[in-house]
Symmetry: C2
Subunit: 536 residues, 2 copies
């Protein structure tokens, strides 16, 4: 059933930007807005014009550069200041100058905040709400009202909180959004307060939650169950302190668990790709365990689960990951066994017989390498090379070898690598420049090998993570490097372990080269690193 009246409202570009470590340029904001629009979100809160210069600029450029097809752009701001005529308030003027079809005003609904933060009277606060809402409605804007600190305010003074809602609705606010600003509420309370507020005011009610008790999504669901017709959140749950309600999780839950078409049904498969694109813009490391869109959301490691998944993926997954644009993955580790290796091999496109000796040998080799520090969870290409060697019965001869190498970094900048190789029997030297040693070595390899093996020209290093491994009684400390690559439209990773980071990086680089050169038949789609990796 199409719920044309449900308002799915994204505040990534305003509340979300209050997240520690998140800093967006205007270009970033425009890109994110386009991405959210493509997903089918109903409203995009673009920022706080007048208060944040970058946001004033965003709304200015949005007028000519942002062509939204589904979403309505919203400008956020505060009610007029106490004892100032609304037409004289420069911040309100800035709201209108943003020229958005919708404006969202934030107002105090907690008597304590009216007193100590705003330092005005309860009556003046209501007047501020009334006059600002009316002013914007008269100017032709649709108006939403964010009732800040509503749930705490309701506990402190229920009558006044309800009066704030009535005042806003009577002045012309289309929806009054109840905000759990400090994030301290639990679902039971949210449900009761939302139900009472709807019953006592008759207003169209929205919900805006924060995750300080780990219940932002659940609080949002509870509010919708109680009759809220508007839900706010951010991409990936970005936001101040513990973040806002994760809007990806909320929309997937509403569509898949409550049967409410809060975005067009056919757009839900864009959920994971949208999450990926937005994370690339923000540079915030993705949380692998994020519901629905996380790289690990449908990733299985336990051998017992792998055995069951061979029978029926539904045995250990609550939905078909394809519905949200994600995919099932099986991890190969010392925790899995033959079943995991077999599932992984099939995932990579190898037609292996169940219970074959090669699968058993591959599983044993994985366990042995993992005990030395290797980790194949994010290194499908390295695993594929290992598997292929076991299937063939031997390691294929290498068409080239690296015999010596050195990297220098100095005050004039960057890293320079020099390398001695043997390519098809012929000695060669190569050099390369890069930001870090791994990039310089990568460049040197391409310099030496691309002319001989043109398939390598499409191979791009996209990221690296370095992990120190403590030694023990049997082995000295070592370093594990995971590299991620893009080759054509496919992405995969490799792993290397060595005494030092650069040696480990070179091992992983060489695996990538060998993988491309070995003409692999994998039909694997994107495999991203399952460990949160810093950009670059």
């Amino acid at each position: 059933m199409v719920q044309q009246s449900f308002q799915l409202y994204d505040t990534t570009l305003r509340d979300g930007t209050q997240m520690a470590g998140l800093a967006l340029t205007v270009d970033d904001k425009l890109a994110i807005a386009r991405s959210l629009d493509a997903l089918g979100v109903g409203f995009i809160e673009g920022g706080w014009p007048g208060a944040v210069p970058k946001d004033t600029e965003f709304f200015r450029r949005a007028r000519t550069e942002l062509d939204l097809r589904a979403a309505l752009l919203t400008a956020f701001g505060a009610t007029r200041r106490p004892d100032v005529a609304v037409s004289q308030d420069p911040q309100v003027r800035a709201l209108l100058q943003a020229e958005t079809p919708v404006v969202t005003l934030v107002a105090k609904s907690h008597t304590g905040h009216v007193d100590r933060a705003l330092r005005t009277t309860l009556a003046e606060n209501l007047a501020m709400i009334r006059s600002t809402v009316q002013h914007l409605v008269l100017a032709g804007r649709r108006v939403f009202l964010d009732a800040e600190h509503y749930f705490d305010g309701y506990v402190s003074n229920r009558e006044y909180a309800l009066e704030v809602v009535r005042t806003a609705a009577e002045a012309g606010a289309e929806t009054v959004v109840l905000c759990d600003t400090n994030g301290g509420s639990l679902p039971e309370e949210v449900k009761a307060v939302v139900a009472d507020t709807i019953a006592m005011t008759g207003a169209a009610i929205g919900i805006h939650c924060h995750d300080d008790t780990g219940c932002a999504v659940a609080n949002t669901m509870a509010a919708v169950d109680a009759g809220a017709v508007h839900a706010q959140g951010t991409a990936h749950g970005y936001g101040e302190r513990c973040g806002n309600a994760n809007l990806f999780t909320v929309m997937a839950n509403l569509v898949l668990k409550r049967g409410r078409e809060v975005i067009p049904l056919e757009r839900l498969v864009e959920l994971e790709p949208t999450g990926r694109v937005i994370a690339e813009v923000t540079g915030i490391p993705r949380v692998p365990a994020a519901p629905y869109v996380g790289t690990a959301a449908f990733t299985h490691k336990a051998g017992l689960h792998a055995s069951a998944l061979r029978v029926d993926p539904g045995l250990y997954q609550h939905i078909d990951p394809a519905r949200v644009g994600n995919a099932m993955r099986v991890l190969v580790s010392d925790m899995g066994g033959r079943s995991s290796v077999e599932l992984k091999a099939r995932e990579l496109g190898y037609d292996v017989a169940a219970g074959s000796d090669a699968v058993g040998r591959a599983a044993a080799r994985v366990k042995e390498l993992e005990s030395r520090g290797y980790s194949f969870e994010s290194a499908d290409a390295s695993f594929a090379l290992l598997l292929r060697a076991e299937l063939a019965g031997h390691t294929p001869p290498a068409p080239f070898g690296v015999e010596s190498w050195q990297v220098a970094v100095d005050g004039d900048g960057g890293a320079q690598a020099s390398m001695g190789l043997r390519v098809a029997g012929t000695p060669r030297t190569a050099t390369g420049l890069g930001r870090e040693p791994v990039h310089a070595l990568d460049a040197a390899l391409h310099q030496a090998l691309d002319p001989v093996f043109p398939a390598l020209t499409g191979l791009r290093l996209t990221g690296h993570t370095v992990r120190e491994l403590a030694g023990d009684r049997t082995a000295p400390p070592s370093v594990r490097v995971l590299l991620s690559f893009r080759c054509g439209d496919r992405r995969w990773g490799t792993v290397g372990v060595d005494r030092h980071a650069t040696g480990a990086a070179l091992t992983a680089l060489l695996d990538a080269v060998h993988y491309v050169l070995s003409d692999a038949p994998e039909r694997r789609r994107d495999t991203e690193s399952l460990v949160a990796a810093p950009a670059g």
Copy 2:
């Protein structure tokens, strides 16, 4: 009110280890167990003896090396296999050989799983439960029964699911734990199912949730509200796919929001330190936004929030962070203004007058540097140097300077730095070795400066992150490096921006040295990086 009957149950060392990217040694597991015990957790599920060799070893060593003061150690395993006598089942024998006071058995409670995963009859499954529970009770063990896939099983065949619970309880299982194994449930359903199960069976009921709908914590709270007396979860919500219920969040919610003493009240202040210690053992990057324990959980960036927090921290925090061992932090960024700078300065121990010119100049300098790529959010020491220069009205003269440097990395391993400096007017050279260029430069600085400035001997580099910054029409691409340090018992960070990573790292290293040398009066406690950093 002391709830001696509430069972707070941690499965970090068993279910938690199924998380992608998590690999623990036996030493790691022992360390984590001690940490959980110190926090006051009631039960620690140590692993699956017999099935996972590392876990068999863990229980063996635990007997002599693990001296638990509060918690009871639990061994996890499956009911006997179909059609095998319980005394003949080697896995059950392994459970007993673990010699734990408590054993937790997992059993199927979903008819679909009994049929397709176990491939046995519904009656035999009940017999497996009955005989295995009785066998362990007769051997003197306390027994818990994990009813796997309970919520899906209840929907599929309610009668059978209830029969599983009755069978386990009648056979002697002290608590029957209802598991939302696929994680697809929402709080409303969990509450109804738990309430019905308690009413229909009279058994002591526990709850075990996964976060696939983003509601694991809320589902757990709902179950406890409905009468569950036992709650399972993991540290930081570690676990397969989207993870298990975050036990830190659950226990803090139960104590602070429901007034239930599920751990000794005086231990709650150990929550954040415990989270930090366990994350150091696992090496999994901490999520800054994690409720209660996250580095960003009580971190405020918006200028508006900072203004209010100056008046009363309770205006934008749902609890006093000290109750969970955390602290309020204010971020300095282009989003804050004078209030943020002032709060931060006070946080660092500077007695600045509200509205002073120096604060205004510092705020302007921060905005200008941030537009060039700097980020002071995780770099308190760099910010302190900036602030001090504005307070003094000039940059203090430097006691030394670096005039040239070079770093080389080669196939024999590691990085070697050489440096030319001028120290108190005298030219000096220095060299240093390290895993990465930043470590080698750090070593060279110490070689040159420690003999002259002994205060530097306590300065330790503990981590670094590198972030590429795209250029724009006004500036070429650059790199931002954040370094974290420990000096004595204090931790703080510095930042550097340059065309290349190593140059940026040197800038940040020099800030750290200048910070230590400038004899700062800060009384700041730990400041950790607010951006998830890879180990090392």
